[in-house]
Amino acid sequence: MIQSRKFLIAALAVPILSLTALAGYKKYKLSFGKEIRLPVQGYDPRDLLSGHYLIYRVDYGAKDPCSEAAGNRDLFLCLEPRKFSFESPANCSTLIRGVCKDGRFEAGIEKFFVPEEKAKILEKMLLSQPAEIILSVPETGRAQVKNLLINGRLWSEY
């Protein structure tokens, strides 16, 4: 056991600073990324740590080559012109970066957390009505979900 007071202060500061940095980084990505919209369709499972979320299949508008690719390979989607490639494209203004997982392209944008009491109704709406996610895409291509629209309206309006 380490008894020093300085070590204890550092030990308590490290998690708080790390969590602040994580929240700050996520906020930065949301604020400074390029905003795009993609259509989605999905259902509602549950996360042990963060509660209810909606999960959906994103329509990227291009043929996903993951079914033919083996393993967890990195994959890049250029949005202008819309095309998948296994190498980072050189001249692409908006890029989403992800991996092939279980034969599908995953970019870490397949979840949207919702309040417990609205989960059921939103799940039903997401299955039956047209929906879109609003993404914030930074230059690195690590996209982050900003909001969810169902029938062209924000989910929180329902």
């Binding site: 056991m1 380490i2 007071r5 070590f7 204890l8 202060i9 550092a10 030990a11 308590l12 500061a13 490290v14 998690p15 708080i16 790390s18 969590l19 602040t20 994580l22 929240a23 996520k26 906020k27 990505k29 949301l30 996360d47 042990l48 740590l49 963060s50 509660g51 209810h52 979320y53 393993g71 967890n72 991996v99 997982k101 995953e106 970019a107 870490g108 944008i109 397949e110 979840k111 949207f112 957390f113 919702v114 309040p115 417990e116 609205k118 982050q144 979900v145 900003k146 929180s156």
Partner: protein
């Protein structure tokens, strides 16, 4: 009458201590009652329940509270708990220190959930758990009791299993072979113990790592033996490359044991033999030498040698657990060897009698065996 009072009466009757000394001892022990394990156990249980309650409240995701208020409240609670940990340390209140520290690390986990909820981050549960394990490593090092380190080490073990088929690094290292992870786990934990011992000495985290190393080691031996029976006379479906990480951790542990100045030469010798016997256990099935008396003998040898090592450290509880499993494996080996006879009525009666005699002899001589093992390693 408590065990202490019984012992004191016996020591007085043997003239080891007098009545005045008995009174002094009883006064001292009753003054310590505030730090009893029952009290700290219930306080820690309460803290665990509060911690999971916090996670649950955050998971319910109340949209009527703005995000910045939720984040602000969360970080304020984290800072308040950090201050409470400092306060309890300065006021020398060990039980409260442990309770506040436990609440602090559980709130860190809940905070990761809150951040991922607010910013809709993707990713798996094991990634959140891994991040939590990394940022909470230092707080775990200041824990004074075993519970927090046990929880932390358990989360590391859970991360390794949950990420086996999800993380590209884990899939590259273990090629989706669960037994590779199982074999590597005790070795990697052993390396971590040896590194921590070198830089910080023995403390609750090293004890927790040892508990998990034993638990995963026993699981690896059981799984390895059950699996090896499928490959008697044929090469297993694993290759040397599949288990290369196990060999790497084995070599690292070997180097760390030899370089450890805290162990005596005989202790180092025993540990090297344990590592070699353990390595042979996952090499044999690769060569088509699956289950046999040799394999079972190696299991007994590994357990027996490690038990002797534990006796040399005066870790009597672990010594007894290991010797129990070594004895049990030996008994099963013996019963399997006389399989034809065991099927008959005489065989069953003989087996029952053997178990009873073994249990009796074990109970009668276990302390002598422990003392001999300790003497032998001096």
């Amino acid at each position: 009458m408590s065990k202490l009072e019984k012992n004191l009466n016996e020591w007085v009757s043997q003239n080891f201590i007098n009545e005045a000394q008995v009174k002094l001892i009883l006064d001292y022990e009753s003054a310590k009652s505030g730090h009893s394990w029952v009290l700290s156990g219930f306080l820690i249980l309460g803290a665990v329940i509060i911690g999971f309650g916090l996670i649950s409240v955050i998971a319910s995701n109340r949209d009527n509270i703005p995000d910045f208020v939720r984040l602000g409240a969360d970080f304020s609670a984290l800072c308040a708990l950090a201050a409470a940990v400092m306060w309890s340390r300065d006021k020398d209140k060990p039980v409260l220190h442990e309770v506040f520290l436990l609440l602090f690390i559980l709130l860190c986990l809940a905070s990761i959930g809150l951040i991922s909820q607010i910013f809709h981050t993707g990713g798996s549960f094991w990634q959140a758990l891994l991040f939590w394990s990394v940022i909470c490593f230092m707080p775990v090092m200041v824990a004074r009791r075993l519970f927090i380190p046990l929880l932390w080490t358990g989360s590391i073990v859970a991360v390794l299993f949950l990420s086996a088929n999800d993380s590209s690094v884990m899939m590259f290292l273990f090629r989706r072979k669960a037994d590779g992870i199982l074999f590597a786990l005790p070795l990697s934990l052993a390396c971590l113990i040896l590194i921590l011992r070198r830089f910080a000495g023995e403390f609750p985290l090293t004890r927790a790592l040892r508990v998990w190393m034993l638990f995963t080691g026993l699981a690896a031996l059981a799984a390895g033996e059950l699996r090896s029976r499928r490959f008697v006379g044929v090469h297993s479906d694993n290759s040397f490359q599949d288990l290369s990480v196990c060999f790497l951790f084995g070599c690292a542990a070997l180097v760390l044991v030899v370089a450890d100045a805290g162990y005596r030469r005989i202790q180092k010798g025993i540990l090297v033999c344990v590592l070699l016997a353990y390595t042979l256990l996952f090499v044999l099935p690769l060569r088509g030498l699956g289950w046999s008396a040799v394999y079972a003998g190696l299991v007994v040898l590994t357990l027996g040698l490690f038990a002797a090592f534990m006796a040399s450290l005066r870790e009597m509880r672990i010594f007894h657990v290991l010797l129990f499993f070594a004895g049990l494996r030996f008994l099963v080996l013996f019963l399997e060897a006389i399989g034809g006879l065991a099927a008959s009525g005489f065989g069953l009666m003989f087996s029952g009698l053997l178990i009873m005699v073994s249990a009796y002899l074990w109970n009668k001589h276990r302390n002598t065996i422990a003392a001999r093992a300790e003497e032998w390693t001096r």
